[in-house]
């Protein structure tokens, strides 16, 4: 199928909207758009960050997921208590594959689930006492934890527990930071508000901890990697490039990160933001309070990596700038070989994405490096500023969908017939059963890393083995195949 024109895409949106009742149609129409690169402000054509319609299938998460699952969870040397009933923490435990080094259960706690396991009596009489007891137990069992965070689940806000008071009291007793986070799931329309609440908690409880303490020796080349959750090792694959350039990575936020790294971040010279959506708040705060500039970068695919490395280097002196060129040159043979190998197998393939955070726009470059084209993209929980950034990356007349519903996504796929879909686990099996190759792009389908030059090699291999997998030719049962193709096979 050739690229769709603006009118065709518009017609497709209208056709898909047909199925809704009037009111729902009017609402959903605002979230679907045909990309137009000439529009500067996305709010003119697409609405985002609104409450999902009751009754439609949305794949959004909750504020607790944004705070515990995304921002706080990966900080490895802290214990994060899922405060409330057991399920929220248990069903999200370790699913994001934020890799880290350390001895789990001794000095790191990333893949463990700590919960106050609320019962009926805790809802009726309040859970503050239980929280205090739980904190004591954790201290006894895991004395090497550097701090704790209390991640509120829905009931905490509903029954009005005072987790701040408990945290303060216990923090003093144990002489450890205990951070209460008011990220009850019902707050906001998606996990996005959870990111914001988590950022605010970091601002209030962590960032200022080492103000006025100059014992940490700094260099002019200190940077922090912000908004890289080290999924499948992403942050490591990014970090080595920065280090080869001569920069010193003081902190990783928050994949494989530690509490002290976060406390030291205000001492760096530049904050590098990968996931803008989840951590722009804290970067803006550090810019305002400490005068640390921040910049967004993109480490997916060689074109964007080179662009980003140069942009980062431009903040520093000529040695770093020369080093950046050296790094790019050093990896050139490697990534050219990857492109030479996979591009012929992937050229012209069309991709539809529907993910969160940064990927719906950041991975476009990596696909383009492989000769592929992204024909539709959308975010679960983006805001206008994300779409502002996306519209420049996407081709004209491609499809944009915000908080897409299960029905819409399926219909779009049926019409657009992409060669690959990149989305989450909830979408994966539906599309595979429809016979469309699929990659789970939240945690890289148990693969990764995808960041950096090393990650690009894995990315290219994964896309190839998914799209060119022989299984897609066997989607039809042999007895349903047309008679003539059968006789052909026999003759062959």
């Amino acid at each position: 199928m050739t690229a769709m024109t603006r009118d065709e895409t518009q017609a497709l949106i209208l056709e898909v909207l047909e199925a809704y009742p009037d009111k729902a149609r009017k609402d959903r129409a605002k979230h679907l758009a045909v990309n137009d690169q000439s529009i500067e402000q996305s709010k003119k054509c697409i609405t985002s960050n609104r409450k999902s319609l009751p009754g439609v299938m949305t794949v959004r998460g909750c504020a607790y997921a944004g705070s515990k699952g995304v921002v706080w969870g990966p900080i490895k040397d802290m214990v994060h208590i899922s405060h409330g009933p057991v399920g929220c923490g248990q069903y999200s435990r370790a699913g994001r594959r934020n890799y880290y080094v350390g001895h789990t259960g001794i000095n790191t706690f990333g893949t463990m689930n700590f919960t106050s396991d609320f019962q009926e009596k805790d809802i009726v009489f309040g859970g503050d006492k239980k929280l205090a007891k739980l904190i004591d137990e954790i201290e006894q069992l895991f004395p090497l934890s550097k701090g704790l965070s209390v991640q509120s689940e829905c009931p905490i806000g509903l029954i009005g527990d005072d987790i701040e008071a408990v945290s303060k009291k216990k923090g003093k007793e144990l002489n450890k930071p205990i951070v209460p986070v008011r990220c009850e799931g019902f707050r906001g329309v998606s996990q996005s508000l959870g990111h914001h609440i988590a950022n605010d908690a970091i601002r209030d409880w962590v960032i200022g901890n080492r103000d006025g303490d100059d014992s940490f020796p700094t260099t002019p080349y200190d940077v922090a990697v912000i908004g890289d959750y080290n999924i499948g090792g992403d942050a490591w694959a990014s970090r080595i490039l920065l280090e080869e350039m001569g920069l010193r990575v003081v902190a990783q936020w928050s994949g494989d990160g530690t509490l002290s790294e976060m406390e030291l971040t205000p001492k760096v010279k530049l904050n590098l933001i990968h996931c803008y959506r989840s951590m722009n708040y804290i970067s803006r705060h550090m810019e305002e309070k400490y005068g640390i500039p921040w910049m967004e970068y993109n480490f997916f695919g060689p074109t964007k990596i080179a662009e980003s490395l140069r942009k980062i280097a431009a903040f520093f002196d000529e040695t770093i700038q020369a080093n950046a060129e050296k790094v790019i040159a050093k990896y050139e043979a490697e990534y050219s070989a990857i492109i030479a190998k996979y591009r012929p197998r992937l050229e012209g393939k069309r991709v539809m994405l529907y993910v969160g955070g940064l990927r719906p726009r950041h991975v476009i470059g990596a696909y383009e490096d492989l000769g592929m084209e992204v024909v539709g993209t959308g975010y679960e929980f983006a805001h206008n500023d994300d779409y502002d950034r996306t519209m420049k990356e996407m081709g004209n007349a491609t499809l944009l969908y915000d908080d897409v519903t299960g029905y819409e996504f399926e219909e779009f796929v049926k019409k657009i017939k992409p060669d690959l879909i990149g989305s989450g686990i909830k979408e994966k099996y539906i599309f595979q059963k429809m016979g469309v190759p699929f990659r789970q792009m939240h945690s890289w389908d148990y693969s990764g890393p995808y960041h950096g030059y090393d990650g690009f090699a894995i990315f290219a291999r994964d896309m190839d083995m998914t799209i060119n997998n022989p299984c897609w030719k066997s989607m039809q049962a042999p007895w349903l195949k047309a008679a003539d193709s059968e006789s052909q096979t026999l003759a062959a």
Partner: protein
């Protein structure tokens, strides 16, 4: 009266960011923008207008200031 975060972008324009509203716009013009004072009516590139009592000496960006809607 929302709190607005103001910062300069790479081109030297001032960005106008309202976290509560996820609004990230660029300031198109400021009524008073001299060496001594900054403020008054502020027009954004999306056409909306906002007001802040003129500040002197001018603020150092980035900073957070409280603005009123221009039509209030």
């Amino acid at each position: 009266m929302p709190n607005v975060m103001l910062r300069k972008n790479d081109n030297g324009d001032v960005l106008f960011y309202v976290a509560k509203k996820d609004m990230e716009e660029t300031i198109a013009s400021v009524e008073m923008n001299t060496a001594e004072t900054w403020g008054g009516m502020v027009t954004l590139t999306d056409g909306s207008t906002w007001y802040i009592d003129p500040i002197s000496p001018p603020p150092v960006f980035p900073t957070t200031l409280r603005f009123k809607r221009g039509d209030e």
